[in-house]
Symmetry: C2
Subunit: 312 residues, 2 copies
């Protein structure tokens, strides 16, 4: 488990101007990736064949909503350093996407002394942090099309690192899809370090596991955190390559299956699988629980929950 | 908050034979209450007027399933003291009840040293515990009929106490229902101590609160724990009176509303409210999280989750 923890020694932060440049480049990238993903998904909405369920609807479009931490947090007055915000993009009730949310956010502030103990480098920054990232969850109309999650982020405390990952959640596994999804992320990882993919794949399997049911949430992918190789450009490159891999493989998988017919029984099973998805996110997911426990915007934090689910 | 904690001084446990008698009487009561509740609910299933949604179905009946802790627990071999079990009664897809589960269980074993620290009296019993109780959650077909939860239990460590409660979850509050539900439990409590009801009502409001949404789960009821007044007969009497109150008021509330027409919009709102219910249970509910984290039977622990829910 030692390779799940942050490295013992952190790369020293650069001078302030360079650090600001890095922050801007990262948050600009998350915004650019968001724009490209939303465009790709809106394109998919236009490609559904006539006669299929929901083809009678207008192609779905994303709605955007900005939020700021100061607006949301009850303790904003007590903590004037609390700042930043984000933008939620949600497409609801589309022809292909039943509900997909893409959040970007760039926030800063101080961790509580209690929480700072758990965060690498926070002791060296007097609890100050900066974080920027993109987070996406897609729940699909068709039970033949896999659901998906993707997230990448950059964090700065007294050190700086990247984290992220993506995992696929088909209702019934299609082995070729699983293989191709993994291969896309392996290719992204292998450009940077051949040790990354096997480690990140195992980490994903370990993380997205519903312990109380002794079963995996989906068919895996990659999950990583605390990436600080000593070469920030390379680490940022990994982050971009993971985003590009997602942008290539996921729309490909959607196109493979979105025109397939499906039955009410398929739909019922999809809703049961979504119940497991909700269980994982509410019981275990660190990001979700962190957001809920620290007064995050519940609409943004819980955007990942399925539009409809069953526990029969 | 001090009255949410166990009393500083515990009533000494009686001699072993008397303690065994008390355990038997309590677990016998939980079983009797289960039988009477199931019979009352099956009666309601026969009373739906023709022409209403789901009236074409056969009246629902409970299915029972026994489970033992030894069957379920991965560490049963390592902990031969782990024992007991329970019985789940579930009525699914009825005419009035969409999904209702009534669990009874009587279990014993040893808390882990870590967990024992959090449990009153466990240090005095070397971590040994015995627990018996009944737990019920009902999700209704009609959005006009409130959902409900009820639970009572007896726990023995180095001390002994009762806990329990019941709370009402209408889709749209009907003030007379709320008043009558509270009055029923107030009457049960007032027979024993006039201080109980106001304390238990406030405790319920505090407990069933969805903090991340800053809203109550339902319209309250009572919630209590660590009841050890020094008079075990009186405390057991309170437990029985709470059960009797439930058995009177809840079927009454169901009958008031089960014949009312409802719309798809009512149903949609019901599914959204159920999403909040699932959020509460998975994120906050102590019993649910305790069950999930200690390797409980997930089917029994998560019986409370709604048959269908929405996060639009």
């Amino acid at each position: 488990m030692s390779d799940r923890r942050p490295p013992e020694t952190a790369t020293p932060l650069p001078e302030a101007a360079e650090l600001d440049t890095r922050k801007s480049r990262a948050s600009d990238w998350f915004r650019e990736l968001r724009d490209r993903i939303c465009a790709a998904f809106e394109q998919l909405e236009t490609e559904l064949d006539d006669g299929l369920p929901h083809a009678e609807l207008a192609p779905g479009q994303f709605e955007r909503k900005r939020w700021t931490r100061a607006d949301e947090a009850a303790d904003a007055d007590a903590n004037p350093d609390l700042g930043g915000g984000g933008e939620m993009s949600i497409l609801r009730g589309g022809r292909v996407f039943e509900k997909v949310g893409v959040n970007i956010s760039t926030v800063h502030g101080n961790f509580s002394p209690q929480f700072a103990k758990e965060i690498p480098g926070a002791a060296d920054s007097d609890g100050r942090f900066w974080a920027s990232g993109i987070s996406l969850v897609a729940h699909m109309r068709s039970p033949k099309v896999p659901a998906v999650h993707m997230n990448t982020r950059m964090i700065v405390t007294g050190r700086s690192w990247f984290g992220g990952g993506s995992d696929l959640n088909p209702m019934v596994e299609v082995p070729q899809d699983t293989a191709d999804f993994h291969a896309a992320f392996q290719a992204a990882c292998d450009k940077h370090d051949p040790a990354y993919y096997p480690r990140f794949k195992a980490w994903c399997d370990e993380y997205f596991f519903i312990k109380h049911r002794n079963q995996a949430r989906g068919v895996g992918g990659i999950f990583y955190d605390y990436i600080d190789s000593g070469d920030w450009e390379a680490d940022f490159g990994l982050t971009r390559d993971v985003g590009e891999a997602f942008l290539t493989i996921y729309p490909d998988l959607v196109r493979r299956h979105m025109q397939e017919p499906w039955t009410e029984a398929d739909r019922d099973w999809q809703l049961v699988k979504r119940g497991l998805y909700a269980e994982f996110n509410l019981v275990y997911d660190r990001g979700t629980r962190f957001g809920l426990m620290t007064g995050g915007n519940p609409e943004a934090v819980l955007m990942s929950l399925p539009p409809e689910a069953k526990w029969p």
